[in-house]
Symmetry: C2
């Protein structure tokens, strides 16, 4: 049982040690660092955290984090708004943006369906995705979800939901606003295979099996 020489210190250590992956010892080390550095620096940290939490927005279209109602990607007319990449998290958007290979827009689900964690479709931004598909002229939905059981389940659930938008016979969906019919968007998933610079001998058998099955011809 640690006896803190200061209640303020104890409170700060307690709050910091609530952070994931930070135990009491690390929290103590961090807090003492904050005490020793310039006062302005510590106040700037506290301010940045409070401001972020109080003033942050989530884009009304794609639900990515944003400083305004519409995020920079959704507000950009030079992005391809007919191509929507469905991801789990904000980090995934940042990872894909970092590739500089994608010119479409996003839709952040906020997670994946996971019965074990009590997360169902209603806890995710799936209904808002369906609204976008009904409302906008979307050519392609890219499911960029985790290559896990939960990611695959979520992707399949969304695919079935999109299919359900189609009139029973044709291959068109009814526009929710104008009542016109339009083609169902193409639904794609990210390629599975061995990762760049991974060593073949250490690649797990499912990945290797899929990489074999999905082999492409050299040209």
């Amino acid at each position: 049982m640690v006896n803190y020489p200061s209640k303020l210190l104890e409170k700060a250590v307690e709050e910091v040690s609530r952070l994931p992956g930070i135990g009491r010892r690390s929290a103590m080390r961090l807090v003492l660092h904050l005490l020793r550095q310039e006062k302005e620096q510590t106040l700037a940290l506290a301010e940045a955290l409070a401001t972020l939490r109080s003033e942050v927005h989530y884009c009304r279209e794609c639900h990515n984090i944003s400083d305004s109602e519409l995020c920079e990607v959704c507000a950009n007319p030079r992005r391809d708004h007919a191509m929507v990449c469905v991801v789990q998290t904000i980090e995934d958007v940042m990872a894909i943006e970092a590739t500089q290979m994608y010119r479409g827009v996003y839709h952040v689900l906020g997670g994946v369906i996971s019965p074990i964690d009590g997360i169902g479709p209603r806890d995710l931004e799936i209904e808002s995705l369906m609204q976008r598909i009904r409302r906008d002229n979307i050519r392609e939905i890219i499911l960029a979800l985790s290559p896990t059981m939960e990611g695959d389940t979520t992707g399949f659930y969304i695919f079935r939901q999109i299919q359900a938008l189609m009139p029973s016979a044709g291959e068109e969906i009814q526009d929710s606003v104008e009542g016109v019919h339009r083609p169902m968007p193409k639904v794609t998933v990210l390629a599975r295979g061995i990762a760049q610079n991974d060593e073949l001998q250490y690649t797990d058998e499912i990945t290797l099996g899929r990489a074999l099955a999905g082999r492409t011809e050299m040209k």
Copy 2:
């Protein structure tokens, strides 16, 4: 080069990644956690850090962290004020308090003499220690410093400073206030030896050599 979807997010990640041992990726993970948890929780963290940095005191006697001008140890009449344990940091005070084996008071130097880091005696609370020795009736000074070159150097420096307080011939020091002479305090250092539960074969040779030289008789 990461492109942040939000300036507030970028600012928060930047501030968090200034913390020691926390890189950009960890900072991002922590900040997104702060975004996802209850707003009150994040504001409580920010508040605790800002309050700590703004309102914390350092004990005017021992320089330990404190919520008031005099820390709980120094303000406690049941502690032995004639025994002063000299330590480097607040953490050291907490570690010694946790042993529940010490009933004296402390003096926190704030570090050790380290020419490489540009830390000299004047950067530490050494002069204030000398003032306490001149002013108070101190029976024993325990040097509880790191068992390193810097710790040893600092301990030896303090020992010489205390010796210098003595009149050239006798073994007494002159009281700064009342002008009376009193005996020089005993100066002790922590025992060096093998640590509890350490394996002998992995103990370094200096430690093992000192443990041999300082062996005690079983009774």
